[in-house]
């Protein structure tokens, strides 16, 4: 018992020492690292006004090796190309969703960062990556130097990236009917999708070759293709298909996409398409 008491006292003593130990630290000083905000250019201010403040989307156009794959040979955009490219995304993507789904829709479900890369992301297989969505938070756009505001095909190709990647983000928030989607063209999916041309993919019931990679990409490609084309252009694509079952498959996928937009978000996909089409024409006409 005596020994136990002694221990107890010792324990108390040591805990007091522990608790009061090192009490007199110097108060924290300012960081020695330079944390000041770099001076902002007109472009930076424009981005703040149009992206950062209203949508909480950060746009990174200056090179940062941590946001880009270091094994790829890419380069930052030409500075003068940054604002025109962002204006295209704003008009055709942001404004269309704003008009059809309400002003807060994109504010709530949105990527938090855009990364702009000037160069083409050419893979060693010969395929080209147009965009990347990472964790639903960051979208990387490639080839921004090549965007030509006056060329409709060029704009469609560029807008395809944001439409496609944003659909992934929507899917990550609310899943689509994967079971029904998987049943339509189950044998067409392949990791070697790039061996198929877009024209051949159409005859197999896929709107693009990339849609063949898996059902998630198929869903995104189906929705994106509808959104970047006008009603007439889309009808022309379907009319050009000679295989009857392929048309049926694409129409079945289209129905799933339309239902998803309606049920999950209350958006009329066709109204969204018409709005995007109106805005695309406005961009080409320089408005």
């Amino acid at each position: 018992m005596k020994i136990l008491n002694k221990y107890k006292k010792l324990m108390v003593l040591s805990s007091i020492v522990l608790l009061t130990a090192c009490a007199s630290e110097d108060s924290l000083k300012e960081s020695q690292l330079d944390l000041s905000t770099p001076s902002k250019t007109t472009l930076d201010n424009w981005i703040d006004t149009n992206y950062l403040i209203p949508y909480n989307i950060n746009v990174q156009y200056k090179w940062d090796q941590n946001t880009v794959d270091n094994n790829r040979f890419l380069y930052p955009p030409i500075q003068t190309k940054v604002q025109p490219v962002l204006e295209i995304i704003q008009k055709i993507w942001l404004n269309s969703y704003k008009a059809v789904a309400g002003p807060d829709f994109v504010k709530i479900i949105a990527p938090r960062e855009f990364v702009l890369v000037g160069g083409v992301n050419l893979n060693t297989t010969g395929t080209i990556t147009l965009g990347l969505a990472e964790g639903g938070k960051r979208i990387t756009f490639f080839e921004t130097d090549k965007v030509d505001k006056t060329n409709r095909a060029n704009i469609k190709r560029f807008v395809h990236t944001i439409q496609h990647e944003y659909i992934h983000i929507l899917n990550q928030t609310k899943p689509f009917d994967e079971k029904s989607m998987a049943k339509i063209t189950p044998s067409g999916y392949s990791s070697a999708w790039y061996n198929t041309t877009d024209a051949a993919a159409l005859e197999q019931g896929f709107l693009t070759a990339y849609a063949k990679s898996n059902i998630n990409e198929d869903f995104a490609e189906t929705a994106a293709t509808i959104l970047i084309n006008s009603k007439a252009e889309y009808a022309a694509i379907l009319a050009g298909i000679t295989t009857a079952t392929a048309v049926t498959s694409i129409k079945a996928k289209e129905a799933i996409v339309v239902k998803y937009y309606k049920d999950a978000y209350g958006i009329d996909l066709y109204a969204l398409r018409d709005e995007a089409e109106k805005n695309t024409t406005a961009v080409i006409n320089g408005n």
Binding site: I3, Y7, L10, L13, S14, V17, L18, A21, C22, D26, Q32, L33, D34, P38, Y61, K62, W63, Q65, N70, R72, F73, L74, Y75, P76, P77, I78, Q79, G118, G119, V120, N121, L122, N123, T124, G126, I128, D145
Partner: protein, 456 residues
């Protein structure tokens, strides 16, 4: 009891540790007299001050990968986050503005954050050769700062850790980029120059020769030793300068490294000079680098031998020289449109003791139907010292029949035919790798070389 003692001592030890544990960290002496953060900040400022300090900016000859690509010269002028830059990547050698930043990562680095000339080396979609698809010119535009040496800034590239040195630029470095571009045709070489090109090194006592071949798209040259059994090579990336070229890796001669070559317009050679008689020279030669004794095949008077340039076969051989091709075209241009030279066929040691070159003509649309023939009869001698044969004119005929009359020499064949009748002689050398047995007839004094199929 024993266990209790151990516990007791342990407790005392812990207590003692606690009592002495709170030492004042601030008094710790750093061996560098500053905290790591302070030192990184100082480095950052040091690099930026250094970059801004040079009046005409900095020059860097960037060899992105000197095992397969050459050097690209860039000049930079830094000022408060902005950089003006020019490069000799293509004919646009003007200066353009963009931004840079000094960043803190594993070390302090210089990053060209918005697009400018240096990014042309890092475009996955613009590559000089198929094997570099997706890799461009393997360029980087983030450079890790490794300090200074003799007024030069030492960087290593972020991806592949290639050393890259920035040297202080002069006012003329900015205008020299355009002049460097004018050096390119000299490095590629002209068809009017002698046919063979070699790198010759002299270490003061021994001369070594390397077969030199340059590819303009990659700015890279291969140079393999011509000595039998030697695997030595001096492959090099090449950067253009107003007066010549700079190569990397340097050519090692003896113990010296030579990297700066000066162009000599008279001979078309590029020369580098070291000390104590050490030199390296990239030069032209009319003499093949490897001379064989193949000409002796022709010397047996009892063996008939036939060789031929054949339309649709040897005309695509890479061993035909530009002069041969142009003489052929020139000769064909003098004929009725549609007619081509179907064969140029030297016959040696015919049973009747004659030798001749047979020229056959046909329409390109029906090359097997011969519409005309010329025979140039010759005698020939050999020269053992130079390993050559020389053909001497005898007569011209249009048929080999003994009774056929001589004809006057056809004027339209003269320029082409004169190359064979060169009194200084021809080299006759076996060629490999063409898919058929072939020999070349090569002039000893002009860049003329014809590839011939061997019927033997």
């Amino acid at each position: 009891m024993k266990l209790k003692n151990i516990t007791k001592y342990l407790l005392v030890a812990i207590l003692a540790l606690q009592l002495v544990s709170c030492d004042n960290k601030e008094t710790l002496e750093s061996p560098f007299n500053a905290t790591p953060t302070e030192r990184l900040n100082a480095k950052q400022k040091e690099l930026n001050d250094l970059l801004e300090s040079s009046e005409f900016g900095w020059k860097a000859v960037y060899f992105t990968d000197n095992t397969q690509l050459g050097g690209y010269t860039h000049v930079f002028k830094f000022k408060a986050g902005k950089v003006d830059m020019a490069s000799d990547f293509d004919d646009d050698t003007a200066s353009y503005p963009s931004e840079y930043s000094i960043e803190l990562g594993s070390t302090v680095s210089l990053v060209f954050t918005t697009k400018n000339r240096i990014h042309l080396l890092s475009d996955s979609n613009t590559y000089p050769i198929e094997s570099l698809r997706g890799k461009g010119y393997k360029g980087d535009f983030q450079f890790l700062y490794y300090g200074q040496e003799n007024g030069q800034i030492i960087f290593r590239t972020n991806r592949s850790f290639e050393e890259l040195r920035f040297v202080k630029a002069t006012a003329s470095d900015w205008t020299d980029l355009a002049k460097s571009r004018l050096m390119i045709p000299n490095v590629i070489g002209a068809s009017s120059r002698p046919l063979f090109r070699l790198l010759e090194t002299n270490d003061g006592s021994k001369i070594s020769q390397f077969d030199f071949s340059f590819t303009a798209a990659t700015r890279f040259a291969t140079a393999n030793s011509i000595e039998t059994g030697s695997t030595l090579s001096n492959n090099m990336g090449i950067a253009y300068t107003p007066t010549g070229i700079t190569v990397s890796p340097a050519v090692v001669v003896g113990t010296q490294k030579l990297s700066d070559f000066t162009y000599d317009p008279a001979t078309g050679s590029f020369n580098a000079t070291g000390t104590a008689g050490v030199t390296a020279s990239i030069k032209y030669s009319n003499k093949p680098l490897v001379i064989t004794e193949d000409y002796k095949i022709l010397l047996n008077p009892n063996q008939q031998l036939v060789y031929a340039y054949i339309y649709n076969l040897t005309n695509t051989a890479p061993t035909n020289s530009a002069l041969f091709t142009s003489l052929l075209k020139e000769t064909e241009a003098a004929l009725t449109p549609g007619i081509i030279i179907q064969r140029i066929q030297p016959w040696f040691n015919n049973p009747d003791g004659t030798n001749y070159i047979e020229y056959r003509f046909a329409y390109a649309s029906a090359p097997t139907t011969i519409i005309a023939r010329y025979y140039h009869y010759f005698t020939f001698t050999s020269n053992a010292a130079t390993s050559t044969v020389a053909l001497t004119h005898v007569k011209w005929k249009t048929s080999t029949s003994a009774t056929a009359a001589n004809v006057t020499a056809p004027a339209f064949l003269k320029n082409l035919d004169d190359q064979f009748m060169n009194p200084q002689g021809l080299y006759f050398i076996r060629q490999y790798g063409l898919g058929y047995t072939a020999y070349t007839f090569t002039s000893t004094s002009t860049p003329f070389r014809m590839t011939a199929y061997s019927f033997q």
